[in-house]
């Protein structure tokens, strides 16, 4: 993960580059994997619920998915505190939007807002890796995938977070061939959001908790 | 007392030839016209009470507070222009909070009173400002025990055994002077206060409710509203006493 040790004075590092005392980083990697798949008129979003630091599990039940509207959710992996700050910010922007426009924000609009929000922090980035997913204005499934500083694109499916290296090839293989999905997942619980024109349905899939 | 038409009452920075500041006097008038509020210092604490006229049947009961907390150990009952009163209460809370963060202990009543008086006084010093049309009965409980102060629009502040402001202040003060305040407990004073307010309100006939707070050993030396059941008991006792005296007449 990215480390940032800004503001540490030169002399603190010691003469021969020996670290004299514990420093700190404003970032942590709290792990987690998120995944989204778009269909013709639906969208499925899933995220693990484990929150960890290093080899320690902090909790097995913490949600990474923010449901903004009936047609749009955001799933984020990375640094949990940044994730929560981002989610709070987006939620409040979403409420303000509804007050001034008298309608929920569309999924593509949310996607653009998320990009702008991330890029706004270009030089002190939010260490989050996001997927924005839902139904677009025509009711088609939409998945937008991001890097930490706001670069984004619309795709048919995407995954982010600590398990993405394992998952992306599976997605590429399974989704480009017409066969049932089999996602390799380890961890505690996966929460799954299924977005259709009827609304959003939440399910849970229990894993091995190893 | 009137400076109307003389031109001496246009600013708080102008004296009249006989040494009055009419703007300040007018502010005091705003307080004198207020509904009656009283404070009693008892042997174990302070009781604040105020009559609130129910100006409309549509008014929600016990709304529009007249007694406010300033800190855990201090409270103010305001009389006069209520929005002005709120400003004074907010300032008091700010002073209390600042004192606590600076000195690490709760602000003494004497200091709080002094600072509020200075604050109120400020508005008597500039032509661009209007003196606050409010007076505050300040109840505190500090290291030196309970204390009752009255801060007035001019910036004058006194410490009292018992006092009153508003329309029926003179009648209330007469009643208070008859009582042996030094031997009274707050529990007893709550009943007395209710009796007095009912009595001085008698001829008026308009509906009113009573708001009451105390800071005493019973309340853990914390300023709080008198519990509803204690207040209800006191009001019942006051009404009974009224009827009794009617029978005698």
């Amino acid at each position: 993960m990215a480390t940032l040790t800004a503001g540490v004075p030169k002399h603190a590092a010691g003469a021969a580059g020996i670290k004299q005392h514990a420093s700190w980083s404003p970032y942590d990697d709290n792990g987690g994997t998120t995944l989204a798949v778009a269909g013709a008129d639906y969208c499925i979003v899933a995220a693990s619920m484990r929150m960890s630091t290093g080899y320690s599990i902090m909790t097995r039940r913490s949600s990474k998915i923010l449901q903004l509207t009936d047609k749009c959710v955001i799933a984020s992996a990375g640094f949990q505190a940044d994730m929560k700050a981002l989610h709070k910010m987006l939620q409040s922007r979403n409420v303000t939007y509804q007050h001034s426009h008298a309608k929920p924000m569309s999924c593509p609009a949310t996607a653009q807002l998320l990009s702008n929000t991330l890029y706004h922090r270009r030089f002190f980035p939010l260490f989050t890796f996001n997927i924005c997913a839902g139904l677009d204005d025509e009711g088609k499934g939409a998945v937008y995938t991001y890097d930490a500083i706001g670069s984004y694109e619309r795709t048919g499916y995407s995954c982010q977070g600590s398990g993405k290296d394992l998952m992306q090839p599976v997605l590429d293989n399974q989704l480009k061939a017409a066969s049932p999905l089999l996602i390799p997942a380890r961890g505690d619980t996966v929460e799954i959001f299924v977005i259709t024109k009827e609304g959003v349905r939440r399910e849970e899939l229990e894993l091995k908790k190893d | 007392m009137s400076g109307i038409g003389t031109g001496y009452d246009l600013s708080a920075t102008t004296y009249s030839p006989d040494g009055k500041v009419f703007q300040t006097d007018y502010a005091q008038k705003a307080v004198d016209n207020s509904s009656t509020a009283l404070g009693i210092k008892c042997k174990d604490g302070i009781v604040l009470a105020v009559e609130k006229l129910v100006v409309s049947k549509l008014l929600v009961e016990r709304s529009s507070r007249r007694i406010h907390n300033v800190d855990r150990h201090a409270g103010i009952c305001v009389a006069g222009l209520l929005p002005d009163g709120r400003m004074v209460v907010n300032r008091a809370a700010e002073e209390a909070s600042n004192y606590k963060s600076f000195y690490g202990e709760p602000i003494p009543g004497r200091v709080l009173c002094e600072r509020l008086a200075s604050y109120m006084h400020l508005f008597n010093l500039y032509w661009s400002m209007r003196p606050y049309g409010t007076a505050g009965l300040l109840a505190t409980y500090d290291e030196d025990g309970p204390a009752l102060y009255l801060v007035e629009p001019s910036g004058v502040a006194h410490k009292y055994h018992g006092t009153a402001v508003g329309k029926a202040r003179q009648a209330v003060k007469n009643e208070l002077e008859k009582m042996k305040l030094g031997q009274l407990t707050c529990r007893e004073a709550v009943v007395e206060a209710a009796k007095i307010l009912h009595k001085v309100h008698e001829e008026d006939g308009k509906p009113f409710e009573i708001e009451m707070s105390w800071i005493c050993d019973d309340s853990g030396r914390v300023h709080q509203r008198v519990p509803a059941e204690v207040l209800a008991e006191a009001e019942a006792a006051a009404k009974a006493a009224m009827e009794e005296s009617d029978m005698e007449d």
């Binding site: 800004a6 503001g7 004299q20 514990a22 949990q80 | -």
Partner: protein, 287 residues
């Protein structure tokens, strides 16, 4: 466990790691100090400040880079009707057991308790923030009291804001309490703002030593006696293995009846296990 300094700094004193003096004092010179424009000829320095600290290229140094006096693990579990928090009473100055009766659990209001590990001065600052918050809440007199969830949310924002300024409050905080509707709340927040709620939490060393025990034995409907027994066992393990702890603990509980912070106590310990005398006896390849 909290990172701790390992070497001494001449600028800050023994027991603390820190910057070295840019201009050495006579104490570390083999010759008298040379007079300079800024220094009196007498060489007197009642209070020496490292000039590089004041005039570094990055401007004056003002942010916490490492903790000075620290508290170690905080443990907490939910049980039927409440939450129980525990920690020792040590304030460590580096590896020195400097303050042995520091109380690291506070009552915020009738329904909320907060316990802290990490830098003690930062915790005292947080205590002040919470006192002001509670007084303001009392003053408002609207019949609503801040619940533990709200106090927790407030603290997560304070911690995250300070890390965003690159000036963190060097603490791990545990918030426990009971909501107005009787729901038991337990959460923790770290120095960079990471936070979560769970049935049991532990900070620092406790995250490694106590939480495995909690996972095995804790349940939300366990009795108060069981919860206290579990916490005592966990405290004992932490005391055995955490060098920066002492055998003087406090347990606090927050229930519907309010917050009760217990008096400090010591645990029965046993040090004459054979494995303690010869810790590597059965370890293959050890010497």
């Amino acid at each position: 466990m909290l990172p701790r300094p390992t070497t001494h700094s001449k600028a800050l004193g023994p027991g603390v790691a820190g910057p070295e003096l840019a201009v050495a004092t006579s104490a570390v010179l083999d010759r008298p100090p040379q007079p300079t424009a800024q220094r009196p000829l007498s060489g007197a320095q009642a209070f020496s400040v490292d000039p590089s600290l004041v005039e570094s290229a990055d401007g004056p140094r003002q942010h916490t880079q490492y903790p000075y006096v620290t508290g170690t693990s905080v443990l907490a579990v939910k049980y039927a009707g409440g939450v129980m928090l525990a920690c020792d009473t040590l304030g460590a100055y580096g590896s020195t057991k400097r303050y042995k009766s520091l109380e690291r659990i506070i009552r915020v209001n009738a329904r909320t308790a907060v316990a802290a590990g990490g830098e003690i001065s930062d915790f005292q600052y947080i205590t002040r923030l919470l006192e002001e918050l509670a007084t303001d809440d009392y003053r408002t007199d609207d019949g609503i009291e801040l619940g533990p969830r709200e106090v927790f949310s407030y603290l997560t924002r304070v911690m995250y804001n300070r890390r965003g300024k690159m000036d963190p409050l060097w603490n791990s905080l545990v918030v426990g309490g009971v909501e107005a509707d009787g729901t038991v709340f337990l959460g923790t927040v770290g120095m960079i703002g990471t936070h979560y709620t769970d049935s049991h939490v532990a900070t620092g060393f406790g995250a490694h030593l106590a939480r495995p025990m909690f996972r095995e034995r804790q349940s939300d409907d366990m009795s108060e006696a069981d919860a206290e027994a579990l916490l005592r066992d966990a405290l004992r393990v932490c005391y055995y293995r955490d060098k920066q702890s002492i055998n003087k603990f406090q347990v606090a509980k927050a229930t519907g009846e309010g917050v009760a912070i217990g008096k400090p106590f010591a645990l029965e310990t046993k040090w004459d296990y054979k494995a303690f005398a010869a810790p590597t006896k059965w370890a293959i390849g050890a010497w």
